[in-house]
Structures are given as C-alpha cells and as structure tokens.
Symmetry: C2
Subunit: 215 residues, 2 copies
C-alpha cells in the first residue's frame, strides 16, 4: 500500500493549514487505496488571526499542536520525517504554508523556507519520489528548486513572484494539476482560485491520483 | 435549492467540532445539490485541549471565533439563526458538542443544553423541518426531546446515559442512519465508532441524503 506524508502548517486558512484542503487530501489518499501519516514543524505560528474579523489576536500558538487538531492527535514533528518510509510527500495549502513553512506572505520572492521543511523536500526529491503542493504551497517549490514548472492558479502578483524565483508559472483552473517532470513535482490551485468545497475535493483527488500513477 | 444550517462547536475533536465531520458534512451537502450556512454560539469554550498530549492548556478561546476556522470566516452567531430561511439543521460531532453546546461530557444525563442551541432546535422542530446530528451530538436530542430514537454508535456508557434521558438508543455501524419519525431527527455514529475518514465521508453523505429525501 502506497504511503503519503502530509505536511500541515497549523489549523485554519488565515494563519495555518487550510482545513478543507487538508481534510480532503486525507480523504483522497484513503479513497484511492493509499495511506498517510501527518507531520508539521514544532515551531511558533507567525501569528494568530481571528478568522471572522481578520484581525491579529494577542496570542501565541504552536504549529505542531494546532495542526494536531486536523490530525486528531496523530501527528509527528517534521524533524522525524524519513523519506525511506514513504512513497510521496504532499503539502495542503492555507496561509500557514506561506507564513509558517516559509515567509512568502511577508517577503515574496525573497522568502526563506523553514530548514526542516526544506530538508524534507530535498531528501524526498533526492530519492526521486513525487512531491505535491496545493493552493499557495507551490511557492515553496519555486524557492527551493528555482527552475521548475508550477501553478498557483491565476493570481498575477503571486505568479510574478513565482517567476521572479526562477520558476515557470502555468495558469490553471479548478482541479487542474501541473506536473514538473524533472523534479516530480505536482501542483494544483484549490482555494488560490475563487473555489468552493467541491472544487477542493476535485483538486485534492486529481493531484493524489496523478501522484499515485507515477509511483 | 435546499439549504442547511450547520452548527459548529469550535475547531478540533477534543474541545470543539470534529474537523473531518464538519468538512465532510459541508462536502456532502454541496455534492447533493444543496447549500449551507454555518452558525455557532458566541460563548467561551469550556476549555482548550492540546490535541497531542490531551492536556488542558492555560488558554481561553471563543467557540464562534474558533469555528470560523472551519467556516473560512463565513459564520454567524446562532442567535441569528431563523428556521424560516432554512430547510434543515445539522450538527457535526466532536467533544465540543458535549462540552460547549451542552455539558453532557461532564454531567451525563443531568446535562444542560446551551439555551440558544435549544431554541434553534425547538424552533426548527416546530416548523416540522428535519434536524440531523453526527457522532456525540445526538445526546442533545435525547436531552431536549426525551422520548426519541437516536444512535451514538455502540458505546455502552453513552447509550445508557441516552436511555436515562428517556430516549431509545439504537446500536449502529459505520454509515448507518437512524430516523425518528415523530420529530424528524436523523442521527449517525461517525467517530463515536472506531472509524476512519472514509467512514466519516459515508456517514455524512448518508445522513444528508436521508434528510434531503424527506424535504
């Protein structure tokens, strides 16, 4: 049975992992006969956002502990991720990917990637295993690999930053998956487009299917 | 187009709404051609649980604000719920249903239901519209209606408390839905059983389907 490692970045679209994308990635993996384990970095969240008002809240939260809400407690520090135990790595989206896994939300093309996230990606690529990213997460691929083909949907500003990092951005619509042959990278736009939960189910299903076909 | 009101109880299985049940209820509703709005009470959570260790954390969180993470900000105070604008009401599970919407987790059969939650349920029942509950949420029906037929799966202690409140408990397996004709109540066990995310998708789909067939 093929096994995915899913990397989360908190719990909630505006400061963490996008909950529908995370949940529907898990569903897509099991529905297609594979299994998963969940990881997240054990670091402080960049900030905590009130998801009604959009305001910052005077609180501190931990990415691993908040991600555990989506994982129902079954989660490990990403430092413990070993690509030898998995067939693929996948990143759901949410601003957490651009605020906690890297700082793209604040520094755009000049962003830095969390060292443990970067290590997980490079070790997986080194084993020639596929890596997927939904929504805003593909910016991490652009930063780490430079000259790769990815999609973040159709947002012009983000696409320009992706190209500034040396990557080629491909415009996509709901559920479309872009494949970068050289590095076995898969990307799909999900909530980077004006999407509903059906579109997310389709995007998650399509990217998992494409990754499984390559394994 | 038929419209559901979904009531959440926070964000995370151990102190709030169960995230997979909430997300997959939303997916099931849209997949079957209906739509939804999301509500939650604007009250303090009973407590905050670290979802890795199970320990209580020295924090305070608000049920409406945390539920907004699952709702991507599109959520209203349950005080604003008007059954005239909806065809059905539905409660995903999670301990939040038994800690924030009522206090069943602490007081069992002697629990009290949050007054605004009780009002929403009674007004919906008064309009003869269907009401659904997943996982542990059916205990709220038992408390409010007494003599009704519900399921919480197979947990003996919970089933006994449900019967102590005057209700009849029906043992169920993954995806089964119990229908109480008199009050148009629908219940399904989801994570009250040792379930995986495929079982939850099936349970959410089946309960929404059964409710839509009655509308």
């Amino acid at each position: 049975m093929k096994k995915f490692a899913i990397v989360l970045s908190g719990c909630g679209v505006f400061d963490g992992a996008e909950i529908h994308e995370a949940t529907l990635t898990m569903l897509a993996i099991m529905k297609q006969g594979a299994q998963y384990e969940i990881f997240a970095p054990d670091i402080k969240q960049h900030h905590v956002i009130n998801h009604i008002s959009g305001d910052e809240m005077p609180e501190e939260r931990n990415v691993l502990i908040e991600s555990a809400r989506i994982a129902r407690g079954h989660i490990k520090d990403i430092k413990l991720y070993d690509p030898n135990n998995f067939d693929a790595l996948i990143f759901p989206g949410g601003f957490g990917a651009a605020k906690n896994l890297c700082d793209f939300a604040f520094n755009g093309a000049d962003c830095e990637v969390n060292p443990d996230v970067e290590k997980a990606i490079l070790k997986t690529a080194g084993k020639n295993k596929p890596i997927g990213a939904l929504c805003i997460s593909p910016v991490i691929f652009a930063k780490i690999f430079g000259n790769v083909k990815v999609t973040i949907g159709q947002d012009t500003g983000t696409a320009e930053a992706v190209e500034k990092m040396g990557a080629t951005h491909i415009k996509t619509n709901h559920g479309e998956v872009i494949f970068d042959e050289k590095n076995k990278l898969f990307t799909t736009p999900c909530y980077m487009l004006d999407a509903n939960i059906l579109d997310i189910a389709k995007g998650a299903s399509n990217i998992v299917k494409a990754m499984l076909e390559l394994m």
